[in-house]
């Protein structure tokens, strides 16, 4: 694979992401997010990061989006709600756009600094990755694991009364 293909895929991902964050409908936004994540996965494959690509497709584009889908299924997607969403975005987009735009110019023009040699993307060995994660970066990996456990406990705590509430809502 090549850099060019990676850049093309990443550009697609960027475009899909920009569209995703500006959609009024949550379903559309989620589909665009999925497109963006899939395109990123393709970009990873293009950069010979096969393991990262597979993980991207399985976890990000698979599991994470699936979780979103479950939640989006409960969302009110009527015409009135979409109109409200559009109105909210219309009234609020200026200042964020300005502030975010502040960093665009320096990044566009400032990043092309030093001379960097050309070269094909180099693949990484998955065995090395395992040695890295459970060797030198053992502590960081442990911390991520701890964070996931904290997340799990938090979800369990927040969700302990959700069932009855959702049923109530359905009856309304």
């Amino acid at each position: 694979m090549s850099w060019g293909f990676a850049i093309w895929a990443a550009t697609l991902a960027f475009a899909a992401a920009v569209m995703a964050v500006t959609r009024a409908s949550a379903v559309h936004a989620l589909l665009l997010l999925l497109a963006s994540l899939l395109a990123l996965g393709v970009a990873f494959f293009a950069m010979a990061a096969n393991f990262a690509g597979v993980i991207q497709l399985l976890i990000y584009a698979g599991a994470v989006v699936a979780v979103f889908v479950f939640v989006v299924m409960t969302v009110d997607a009527g015409e009135a709600a979409m109109a409200r969403e559009r109105e909210m975005l219309r009234s609020a987009w200026r200042w964020p756009a300005l502030f975010v735009g502040l960093s665009v110019i320096p990044i566009l023009f400032g990043i092309g600094g030093g001379p960097m040699g050309e070269g094909a993307p180099a693949g990484a060995d998955t065995r090395e990755l395992g040695l890295l994660l459970f060797g030198d970066w053992g502590v960081a990996t442990e911390l991520v694991a701890l964070m996931l456990i904290a997340g799990m406990i938090g979800v369990r705590h927040l969700g302990r009364n959700l069932g009855p509430r959702l049923r109530e809502r359905g009856r309304e």
């Binding site: 609020a92 200042w95 964020p96 975010v100 502040l102 110019i105 320096p106 990044i107 023009f109 400032g110």
Partner: protein, 650 residues
């Protein structure tokens, strides 16, 4: 491999402490005993092979690093070490502690389970502290263990919580040793600044290389620390009252650990002491004067435990004399021998006093020799070692070595030798007194005590060690890198004669009515020369007065319930704590009070209002909305990126 074995040695007692002190479940009496004994004996099991390998020369000096930190030029390295001193001392401590723990299992058998847990937890913690002191390779572990012992000694001495006397004794021990510990801490920190390392191996050369004045200050501070822990003059007052604790506590505190830690400190840092003749002389003088003082007071005691307590500080005085005379190896030998026979004496005295009905008065011991013959025999062996019975007892050999070292140290040493010789004779006088008393036929026949092997076993072992220890003195001195002093036959004969004179003296004192009446009358001596009262009059009372004066105004001003019960809480505020408040009040009166009706006040108030208004305005930033904060984040990010761009332009 072996290095890490060293780190394990103090851990079992520490674990025992944690288990006994923190385990929330009710432990059975047997479980408590088992944990305590296992934790108390494990160090010996762990350390014995290491020590034997060291003595056999299989392994050399080792340092086991536990933890290392570097701060610039400073190096903080916690470690344990194995060298001649730590091998000998740790082996002695573990042996004695094992004996004491086994004995304590019998002695404390009738205590409540909760008390038992508390007792053994603290004993184990205490043991861990002492082991870390003797095995420390750096000043931090050393000081930690040192302080741990101080803390545990407080709790153990006040073990009997219902008795105000025991509590006061613990408090006294704590405060007196604390004063000296402050000096020790200062000394160790100064050494650390000289050496930029906490390794003892680095501290000593750095202390030797330090400029004269600073080195003297360091040596003196270390000496004060040792004097306080070892209850030497002028800190000796805490030890006799510390007898309020149970007998195993005394046996552990006053033989191999606590008080001996001062001697260990001085032996460890002996090069620093010896480098300055003045400090060395001060050490020797402190040692000899304590030896004489302790012996004199011991002669006058009527209580066997107090007698032994004074004998402890007297014997440690001999160790200090040896260090002051430049023979730390000899001091080490005396430390080992003393630890063996002193723990033996305390434990045998405990059995004897049990046999005679629970009293520790010497007079009442009558007939206990017939009630507990084995314990009595071991006591006799211990007393002979204490008195330095010629040739047969280990005490004679080590004391001879100390005296020889003094004689060979020049005219000054010979003067000290004379004093020490007199002390040795006095030692004999008091050492045998309980023996004669116990031998007298009882007023009414005492019931024979059934010997429990838990109690008698350690006694017999230690008695054997007190005799066979004779063969250890030479090797220990040589292992420490010293030579055994041989001051000539005449000097040695004089030492033997002194011991025999002591034996005769004790017979006279015990059986001659004139002399025993004199002993009875010697109240001043019995009360340790009333040093307590002198300290109270010259140090404590003036201090209390100053405190009263400093806090007097507040006490009178106070209203509410506290003002009325001045008497119950002593009527003293904390002068240091109230100093800042008083200063603030004084400043308010002097500086701001004149301005109050003035414009100054108005200006101040206006600026306050402005601050308040600014606060109200600033609150508007806090909308509580996530989006606002994210926008602020984006703004900050943009500014940072632009700044970074600007700085790397071109």
């Amino acid at each position: 491999m072996l290095a890490y074995f060293l780190l394990l040695v103090p851990l079992p007692p520490l674990g025992g402490f944690l288990l006994l002190a923190l385990d929330p479940y009710r432990l059975e009496r047997r479980a408590v005993m088992a944990v305590a004994l296992a934790a108390g004996i494990a160090p010996l099991v762990l350390f014995l092979p290491v020590a034997l390998a060291y003595f056999a020369g299989t392994i050399g000096d080792t340092i086991a690093p536990a933890f290392t930190l570097n701060f610039g030029q400073f190096e903080i390295a916690l470690a344990m070490q194995l060298d001649a001193l730590s091998a000998i001392a740790a082996l002695t401590v573990t042996v004695v502690a094992t004996c004491v723990m086994i004995y304590a299992a019998d002695y404390m058998a009738s205590a409540r389970v909760a008390d038992l847990r508390r007792f053994f937890a603290l004993m184990n913690l205490f043991l861990a502290g002492m082991l870390s002191v003797v095995m420390a390779a750096d000043s931090i572990v050393f000081f930690l263990g040192w302080e741990l012992m101080g803390l545990c000694s407080f709790f153990l001495i006040s073990y009997n919580m219902n008795s105000p006397r025991a509590f006061a004794a613990g408090q006294k021990a704590f405060v007196m040793t604390r004063i000296a510990d402050a000096a020790l801490l200062a000394g160790l920190l100064l050494l650390f600044l000289e050496a930029t390392s906490v390794r003892i191996a680095d501290l000593i050369p750095a202390g030797l290389a330090a400029p004269e004045q600073r080195a003297v200050v360091i040596a003196v501070l270390l000496l004060i620390g040792a004097l306080g822990k070892s209850a030497q003059l002028p800190f000796q007052t805490w030890l006799p009252t510390a007898m309020a604790g149970p007998t195993p506590v005394s046996a552990l505190l006053h033989s191999a650990t606590m008080v001996a830690a001062g001697a260990i400190l001085l032996i460890r840092f002996a090069p620093l002491i010896e480098a300055h003749p003045g400090v060395a002389a001060a050490t020797a003088i402190a040692g000899v004067s304590t030896a004489v003082f302790g012996a004199l007071c011991a002669v006058a005691q009527t209580d066997i435990k107090r007698l032994l307590a004074y004998s402890s500080i007297s014997q440690i005085g001999f160790m200090l004399l040896a260090v002051g005379m430049g023979a730390p190896g000899v001091a080490m030998a005396h430390f080992v021998v003393h630890a063996l026979f002193k723990s033996l004496l305390f434990m045998a005295a405990g059995v004897l006093s049990h046999a005679s009905g629970g009293t520790t008065e010497i007079r009442r011991l009558r007939g206990s020799a017939y009630a507990a013959p084995i314990s009595f025999a071991t006591y006799v062996v211990g007393a002979a070692a204490l008195a330095g019975f010629p040739i047969l007892s280990a005490g004679w050999w080590s004391k001879e070595a100390v005296l020889g070292a003094a004689v060979m140290a020049g005219p000054f040493g010979q003067f000290l030798w004379l004093v020490a010789l007199g002390t040795a004779a006095l030692t004999g006088v008091y050492a045998y007194r309980p023996v004669w008393s116990a031998l007298r036929s009882p007023v009414e026949p005492l019931p024979a005590v059934k010997d429990n092997w838990l109690a008698v076993g350690p006694l017999i072992f230690l008695a054997a060690a007190s005799v066979l220890g004779s063969f250890l003195v030479g090797p220990i001195v040589r292992l420490m890198g010293d030579t055994v002093p041989h001051a000539g036959l005449g000097i040695e004969v004089m030492g033997a004669l002194a011991a025999i004179a002591g034996l005769i003296g004790s017979v006279v004192v015990s059986f001659s009515p004139v002399w025993s009446a004199r002993i009875k009358r010697a109240r001043r001596l019995r009360a340790g020369m009333q040093m307590d009262a002198i300290y109270y009059a010259f140090l404590v009372r003036p201090y209390r007065r100053v405190v009263h004066k400093l806090s007097g105004r507040n006490a009178r001003k106070g209203n509410g319930p506290e003002a009325n019960n001045d008497k119950t809480d002593g009527g003293m505020g904390d002068p240091v704590g109230t100093a800042t408040v008083n200063l603030g009040l004084w400043l308010a009166r002097v500086v701001t009070a004149p301005f109050v009706p003035d414009r100054f006040d108005v200006v101040t108030m206006r600026s306050t209002r402005e601050v308040r208004r600014a606060g109200v305005w600033a609150r508007r930033l806090q909308t509580g909305r996530l989006r606002t904060y994210v926008m602020a984040f984006a703004l900050g990010l943009g500014v940072l990126v632009i700044l970074g761009w600007g700085m790397t332009w071109g």
